[in-house]
Symmetry: C3
Subunit: 140 residues, 3 copies
């Protein structure tokens, strides 16, 4: 018998960088005893992203951050929208270059993540922020 | 009782830029009295994108456009595929850098969009185009 | 009556480039007689992407590859994570700039792909790899 369920995850960021929240998603799944279905995540912001990336060597996250800092530099003279700070428009561009939605099959109570995949919130602003992710499950 | 529903949205663009069509999606939801579930959008083209971005200051859209115009310039000598115009291959690259799929939870008849999030069709070609978005709903 | 189904697709890549696997997905749909619903694809890797792109002129794939090779060059001195080869960190960045999830409505037994859209696995590593895509269907 198929059913669905909703949840909202609150995540506090401490400045720019990648925050692994795979465990928070897995805890929600385990607590509700979801076994098989589809898990959807939607980040309710326009200056941070959701990303599935390598969870082994932390240098990968450092390099992702360095690459995006070079590609979309803070304070770029190209930008008109500067009223919220010189990292605000770069944060919108970084979000456009990545995504705010993820969809993951769930089977045998386990997300279909690969061995080295983790689910990250990528904070693009330099200041700490309160972020929320809307979660949806449909399945058994 | 879970059910599903399909729709195809026709959107006419008037050249390159971001077109907010949040209201068209919300009208489809309201008309069908969808209350809780998952809404999926798929854009059926390879030279335009779907994007969730800030719907407040229009300068954000201007700057997104300016950034992508600099990153993927029209008429770049790198490109071999030029038979459909000097903005065609850049449009494919912009589409690859963004996305053509979105997935949004719906709860209490409301999409899980954040306060400042709108749903945009990003037209990457300079000429007007007729675009279609396939919509899917599953839920109650 | 709604039902769901799972599958895992094994795809062997022969080095960097775009591999069309639309037919493999369609064969799974036909074999199981899925008629209407939502198809989700999740790539279980962090150095390759899923991409919906033009399936007509092969020059489009060549140019996508050329653009990404210029944007994220192998052996870039910016990167710290080099232990797995000079194409490894660029592969992670390319994956972050694209996506590993796709969601497609299915109606009348046909995916909601546009006329020119194909489903691609984009291999970002130079060496051959064994890749797996988790498939999920919910519908009728």
């Amino acid at each position: 018998m198929l059913r669905q369920s909703f949840h909202e995850l609150a995540l506090a960021t401490r400045g720019r960088g990648l925050y692994d929240f795979t465990r928070e998603v897995e805890e929600w799944i385990a607590k509700n005893n979801f076994k098989a279905g589809l898990v959807t995540l939607h980040l309710r912001h326009t200056s941070a992203s959701l990303l599935i990336q390598e969870n082994a060597d932390p240098d990968v996250r450092t390099d992702l951050e360095r690459f995006f800092a070079r590609l979309v530099p803070d304070g770029d003279g190209l930008f008109v929208h500067t009223c919220e700070g010189d990292d605000d428009m770069p944060a919108h561009v970084r979000t456009a270059l990545t995504t705010v939605n993820l969809s993951l099959p769930l089977r045998g109570g386990e997300l279909a993540l690969g061995t080295w995949q983790g689910i990250y919130l990528w904070e693009h602003r330099r200041a700490p922020h309160a972020r929320t992710v809307a979660l949806h499950f449909i399945g058994e």
